[in-house]
Every structure is written in C-alpha cells, then in structure tokens.
Symmetry: C2
Subunit: 384 residues, 2 copies
C-alpha cells in the first residue's frame, strides 16, 4: 500500500482570540493550503477536528461553513470528535481517507474557541465527556489527575519536584514557540507555590483554556512528490480505548489506551521506542507526561520521573518531549491540540522548527482523550 | 482493492423512548453484534454517528462510554458528525476504516435522543447547523423547504397534491415497518388539510422529532466470508458539499451535493440510475424527495413529481423509494437516520424486509446534511 504523506502545516496564534470558531478554522486552513502549495479546489476531503462548537458557541455545521469560507466546495466534509483527542482522531481519519483511496488530498483543520466562556462553563463542557457515575460525584478530570499524581508519587517514591519539572521544561520550550499561549519561563518555586487545584497538583501542573486552530495537509506519497521533494510520511498510527469509567481500571498509573495504541503504531511502523527522536505528549496535567512516557516504552513503569530529573526529556536531552511547549505552555484548544502535536513533529522532521529545532528523523505524537478514555498514537518520519 | 462488505444490521424502535442516548446506542450495537454473529472483542473500530448529544443531553464522549457498555474496549472509537447526514457520513467513515486496512471489523452505531426536549429546543439545536447570516433572519430549514416547494410547484407546474403523495406513500410503507415511529396510513386530505408550517408545506410534509438508533457491521469481503455466505457489498460511496449559505446557490431546485456525490458513487460502482432497484432518500421534507430523485438521475429536472403521480415510486412501482417509511414515517433521529437508510437497503438486498420486501439486487441511500449542505450517497449490492 502506498504511504500517506504530510506536505503542509499551519497553526494560528494560540491564546485568547477574538472572533468565532470559523475565523480560527479559516485562518489555519488557508495558511495550510498556502504552506502546502495546494489549491482549495484540489482538496477532496476537508476534515474538522472539534469537540464542542455547539456547546461553546451554539454553532454546529462548522465543517460545511469552512468548506465555503476557504473555497473548497464541493469537497466532502466531516467533523471528528474524540473529546480532547479530536485532533489525533482527525489525523487518523485523514490517514484513512488517503489510505482507502477515498481522497487524494485531505485538509485536516482542528480548532476550538473557548475563552469567551468562563472557566467554570468551559470545564463543565469538558467534564461532560466523563461518565455521569463519576462526574456527578465531582470526580472530574483534574480530580483524577490529583488522585493519580498522589498515588504515583507515593508508590514510586518520586519527588513532587519531578512533576513540577515537567511544567518548567515545557514552559522553557514554549518561549521559543511564537504561536504558544505562554511564551515565558517559570521556575520550580513558582510551580510549587502556585494555588492548589487538586492536591498535590497546583495551577502550574495544568494546561490553560485556549482558543486556536492548527492544520495539516495529507495525500498519497505519489501525489506529494508532484508538489515537493521534502515531506513527511505517517509510518504508524492507531487508537485504542480504556474503560470509560476510570475508577474501574486495575492500575491507575497505567493508561491502557496509551499502551495499546502505542504498541500498534510501533508494529505498523516497524519502529520501537528507541527509534523515536522527538515526541509530543498530551501534558494536559503534568502527571500525564509520566504516564505516557511509561506507556509508550520511553521509561520503565514508575521511572519516568527519573528521566525528567536527569534532564533527558529537555531539548538537548536524549529524547526531547514537548518541544512545542506542550499543552502546558502552548495551550489546549481541544480539537486543535492533536493536530498541533502533528504540526510540531512535522516541523521538527522538516527542519522548520526554528529555535526549537532538534535533530530528528522519527517523531511520535500521543493525543489523550479524557483521562485516557481513548488515545491515538502517530509515528511520523522524514521521507527518504 | 478488496470490497467492503456489510454483514449485519439492527435498529431500535424509533419514536419517543425512555432512557438516554447510551441506552439507545447500546441496544442497537448489541443487536447488530448478535445479528452479525460477531464478538464485541473482535470489533476493531467502533464509530458513533451522532449530531448533538452534548446539546440535547449535556453528555459527550458517548463513543467511549459505548465501547465499555458493549464490552468492545479497547476498540478504537470516534464520533462522526455531519449534522443530519451524520449516519451517511458514518457509513463513509466505516467504509474508509475497512478499505484503508485500519480495521478488519467496524461497528457503526448511529443514534440521537431528542424527544425529552421541547420541539422548540430541538429545532433550535438543528437550526444551529445553518449559517448565522440566514438563521438570525429566521430562515431555518423548514423555511428553505417552504420557499423551495413554492418555487418548484410554480416553475414546473406541479400540483400541490404531488408533494402530499410523497407523505401518503411513505406512511403507507411505514405501516409495514415494525420499528417506524408512525405505523399508520394517512390520506391525501389529511396531509392537505394539516396545519401550515412553512407555506405551502404543512405538518404532514415534515418528518417528526424522534429518538432511536441503528447499526451496521462492516468488514473486508474476505472476512465476511468467514462469517456468512450472504452479505452485501458497498460498491459506491462518496460525499460532497454545496454552498453552506443556501441563498447563494444558483438554482434552489438543484442540490449540488446530491448531484456530485451521486455521480461519484455511480462512477465508483460502475452503475447508473437505471440499475438502482430500491432507494432510501432523505425525505425530511416532502420536497426533498423530488430534489434527490432529480439530482440522482431517477427523473429529469422538474419531473420527479410526475413519477410520484404515476405511482412509480410506490412499493410495486418501477423504483420503490423509502420502503422503510422514510424519515417521514419511520422518524428522524438525526445521527441514526443515515444508518437506518443503510439498514433498510441491507435488509431489502438480503431479502429480510418482511412485508416491505421488494425485488432488489442494487440499492441506493442518499443522506442529506442540512439543506443539502453536505450529502452522502451510498450504493449497495447483494454479493454475488
């Protein structure tokens, strides 16, 4: 089967933005067409990753509106929702559209507009993705994160500082990302003394609420070669669920969806964890970066914190993680985040990552829906 | 490329149902597993077609909840939204999952729970799929239908009764569908004297608001043959958008998305309109059945009404349309409708349609999002 290529990317400024969701999607969509050198008329499928424009703005049908806005009509459109991993699910859907032969050119645009709502309203929308048996008791995603973090730290004798160092590292990376919501460093003391949200986790252990959009252009490799000599291929991609009711999992420090989707993506690509040069992990909460590092085989179970302590996941370390700044500093517009992970890996593999550039031939993204309720892992490689 | 097969189907009772969306999805999902003889553990991808569970019930993440409810974890899940054509988009997504090799067994479940909300609340949610430039002026979907119907009748000198006869026919079919919301005939006089909704269209020109769910099981043909000798293949499928702002279309009686998606589906399957033995069209409003008949080549432009007048689209006619009862009498639970169209065609081709059975080797579904904003056309054939 022909390989699926990525030939263009874009992302808007992340943060607090004016306008509505369509402005953000159109901005990223048009920039991606421009980056790829593709005419809108040549787009066969236009996929929009978005969790909740209906709840956030009372507007649905945004994929059809976008088609007209960027002049892509009569392209086929679809909205992809996989909660906070809608972006990763969008990459998987776009991959399927190309690999199946349904489309020869798929533009994927992920986006969310959230900051016009209060933090309470936004977190209520997000909480609706969990099972009522849990959220009616108040056990929302930040609560799971706090409980898991406490368990992890005690069970594996990990210092509280190791979690804070994830935030410090990702903020240090975000300084070099002109699209990041927070382009400023934070020190260990600031993280450790920030207000408690879900003990032991504090404000700086959490990603912010964000507006933003990101886009990728996918096509068969043979089509890619008509446009450019330099492109990236998706060599492995898969997704998997874990129990939707989080408290029914056997071990709260193991995310089954991470493990399963990672194993399948490695198998499909013929790669193993040692081959990965750079990774974007879903650091909605600092503790999640540990769980993904372990689930994806970058560290033994219970030992991710040691790699962080040793600086191995920093930009000059053995395996740079979240060079983009991660959700923590770049921001987390739900439907955009998984696409933006893909944008960062694409730019790293293309040598277009500016001051964040690391040496990388093979990269990985892991996009987590809910508290690992569904996870998509994608492996990308510079074309040879 | 190997053909994509359908090996099982199910649908719940459509109408006013107790419980919440998950009950409906699980009921159809489990029944489809049973019908196909497939273990939940063998499902690779579980796709849920649903437009607005967040808006209708304040619940998102339903695809992940369903995976656990039917014991399909760790199957990969995704929610597919293409407004009122979410079901057709789900068939297309499921087709892509199989044709791309990403999945060897995809369970597609479409559903919507609406009747617990008032009619005003439900139509507000549906209206959110149109462009604000139109819906802020009150030009919602029923208004478009009324305006288009008036124009059609005057321009093509068609009698008002021809529209009413669509409702009469579809209700006559629904009598024989045990899952239909309305299993009762209506006569011409009842339709013509029902209350005006959007002149010249009256209450019986419109589909009802409905709770319900439907499901299909898709796999590669080689896998299908491990389960059964009798199955159906999807020989053609594609989707296309028209302008999202409806008043910008050149001719209100031509739905570009119907024409485009139909042409591509015919080309893919090597079929033409004459080959179609039975069709499910999206009769959300009676006028839409005319527009789809013409857009799909079953009638010349402006002449669909003549076929209806001549009874050619009745069960014993040349081309039976909406043998299921259509959206008009079976009901229209948004995310379920396109899947339920597929269920009807599957059952007709399998000879499992009971009192509704017609002679058919090749069938077609046309699922319309919004007012033709995006349309998916699917051609299915009995396996040979």
């Amino acid at each position: 089967m022909e390989r699926v290529a990525v030939i263009g990317s874009s992302m808007t400024q992340f943060g607090q933005r004016d306008g509505w969701i369509l402005d953000l999607l159109a901005e990223a969509g048009l920039a991606c067409l421009d980056d790829a050198g593709v005419d809108a008329a040549d787009v066969d499928h236009l996929y929009v990753s978005n969790m909740a424009s209906g709840e956030f703005e009372g507007q649905t049908g945004i994929m059809n509106a976008l088609a007209q806005d960027i002049d892509a009509t009569p392209a086929y459109t679809q909205r992809i929702d996989q909660t906070s991993s809608s972006g990763g699910a969008g990459i998987y859907a776009a991959w399927q559209s190309i690999a199946s032969g349904a489309s020869d050119m798929t533009l994927l645009v992920g986006g969310e507009k959230m900051t016009h709502r209060t933090t309470g309203e936004s977190t209520d929308v997000i909480a609706s993705l969990t099972h009522p048996v849990e959220y009616k008791q108040g056990v929302t995603l930040p609560s799971f994160a706090g409980l898991t973090a406490r368990h992890y730290l005690e069970r594996f004798d990990a210092p509280r500082e190791s979690l804070a160092k994830v935030a410090v590292k990702n903020h240090a990376n975000g300084v070099h990302n002109p699209h990041a919501q927070f382009q400023k460093e934070v020190d260990l003391e600031t993280v450790l003394e920030s207000p408690i949200v879900a003990d032991p986790l504090r404000l700086y252990d959490f990603c912010p609420i964000t507006d933003g959009s990101a886009a990728l252009m996918l096509c068969p490799e043979s089509v890619a070669q008509e446009y450019t000599d330099d492109y990236v291929v998706i060599s492995g991609i898969d997704g998997a669920t874990d129990t939707h009711v989080v408290h029914e999992r056997e071990d709260p420090t193991i995310m089954g969806g991470v493990v399963e989707s990672g194993e399948r993506a490695y198998e499909m690509s013929g790669r193993d964890p040692d081959d990965i040069d750079v990774a974007e992990l879903h650091d909605m909460f600092t503790i999640l970066e540990f769980l993904q590092m372990e689930g994806l085989g970058f560290a033994e179970h219970g030992e991710a914190w040691k790699l962080v302590e040793e600086g191995e996941t920093e930009r000059d370390g053995e395996l740079p993680i979240n060079t983009s700044g991660g959700l923590k500093s770049k921001g987390h517009p739900l439907g955009a985040s998984g696409v933006a992970q893909g944008v960062e890996i694409y730019e790293q593999l293309m040598g277009e990552a500016g001051d964040r550039q690391v040496e990388a031939e093979v990269g990985l993204c892991c996009n987590v829906g809910g508290f690992g309720n569904c996870v998509i892992t994608t492996i990308m490689e510079a074309a040879q």
